[in-house]
Symmetry: C2
Subunit: 275 residues, 2 copies
Amino acid sequence: VSKLIRRIGVGVILIAVVLAAIFFHPLLTGGLLALWIFLASREFTELLRKQGIGVPRWLLPLVNLVLPIVLAIWSVGLKRDVSPGVVAFVFLPLAIVWGYVLFARAPRAPKLVYGSFAVLYLSLLPVHLLMLRQVAFADAAWGFPIVLYPLLSTWLNDTGAYGFGKWLGRHKLSPEISPNKTWEGFLAGIVVSAVFSAFYLPYFIPETGLVAAVVLGLVLGVAAQAGDLVESVFKREAGVKDSSSALSEHGGFLDRADSLLFTIPIFYYYLCCIR
Amino acid sequence: VSKLIRRIGVGVILIAVVLAAIFFHPLLTGGLLALWIFLASREFTELLRKQGIGVPRWLLPLVNLVLPIVLAIWSVGLKRDVSPGVVAFVFLPLAIVWGYVLFARAPRAPKLVYGSFAVLYLSLLPVHLLMLRQVAFADAAWGFPIVLYPLLSTWLNDTGAYGFGKWLGRHKLSPEISPNKTWEGFLAGIVVSAVFSAFYLPYFIPETGLVAAVVLGLVLGVAAQAGDLVESVFKREAGVKDSSSALSEHGGFLDRADSLLFTIPIFYYYLCCIR
């Protein structure tokens, strides 16, 4: 029970810090993002080194900071929507990785490819939180509750999948990648996020119909669990259960946000482009 | 000599086809891009399989077609500038790769990572040709000569580096990655593209000063040779000299465009964002 209390305590503190940073200022959001990216990139480097991919320890934590720092500074100026710059700026860290590899020792292809993937996975995906914040806060009718939506949806999905899976789980979903996941938990998780979506989204974005809200809830539910599985692929092949033990029962920094890496960009593109 | 004539003949035909497609219509540009992407993705798949990365033969050629097709269709409509959609659409092929990997056989991490890299390298980078064409043709003062600039600069750089390297080359540039490259050829190549740039760019974009033109020429020269080296990393580790023999003396489709993959995006971002 003391473990459970610690788990809840750490969770509450993390959530409070994240929400406060998003609420108050884009530079705080960007700073928190940069911190998470730095820590998660260190964890990811260890996962790669355990698989025999000899990426040096300094490369990914430093290179992945370029994008959040550039975007955070840019977002303070007049331009509230930072998305047009993202494609351009993502080539900056990629170019550093590619340049480094030309001077590194053989075998070079794995360093080149895993390094580029890390830029995508731990820099391009997470900065969508800042992009979402800026788009949401630029519209007077949206603001904070809109940024909250993918976070709440993902956390509810996680909790639903975990709880129902423990209670009713019988059929393994993907025993090779993540042995504790069940089909029952998976389905319960996406139902929870669809129901949440049906109430939350039409209230805060009135143009969103009930059907669209439910579909988006289902898509985000599937994406959340896919994000979890994608991270598990790396942990499995490194032979570890958690990306680190930095957050005690919550595992590592990467473990805590693996689902958000997928759900936040999807909601961002729904909001900016598809809706 | 008959080899040289065939080499020149194939080169002239390729250049004519590429220039005609760019000149006449975005759908032709997109179609040619899609064809190149399909063929280069097949070659790249073979390079990966020779390194023991078990990416299935159908995956990359199909998945990498998504981005050029979507952008080509989009470019026919009213929106001449297709760049804002590129970040959004690049997640489509990535999501297909990631979804596939969850159902594939272990080891999954290499398939996930090399597959994602292939989307970046052989879909996101090449579609910058279409993005550049649309931006250049949208401006009445620019048009075709602007799209020609990175192509001519890269071809001159290649030829200069090859010719001077053969003639004066003594010091190996990167014997492990590409044994025929020399520092003399490298320097001659970037001088050629800087000189070309100094004459061409101020003439067609009058706001560009001489210093900016020379700097851009140097940057594109270095990028062209880095693009060549990055492709060579994969060929080296696969133990082959050319990506295929489809174009006889020119090697494969990937060999023919490895430098353009880097120089076209750099010039595009100069044109749209930095200038």
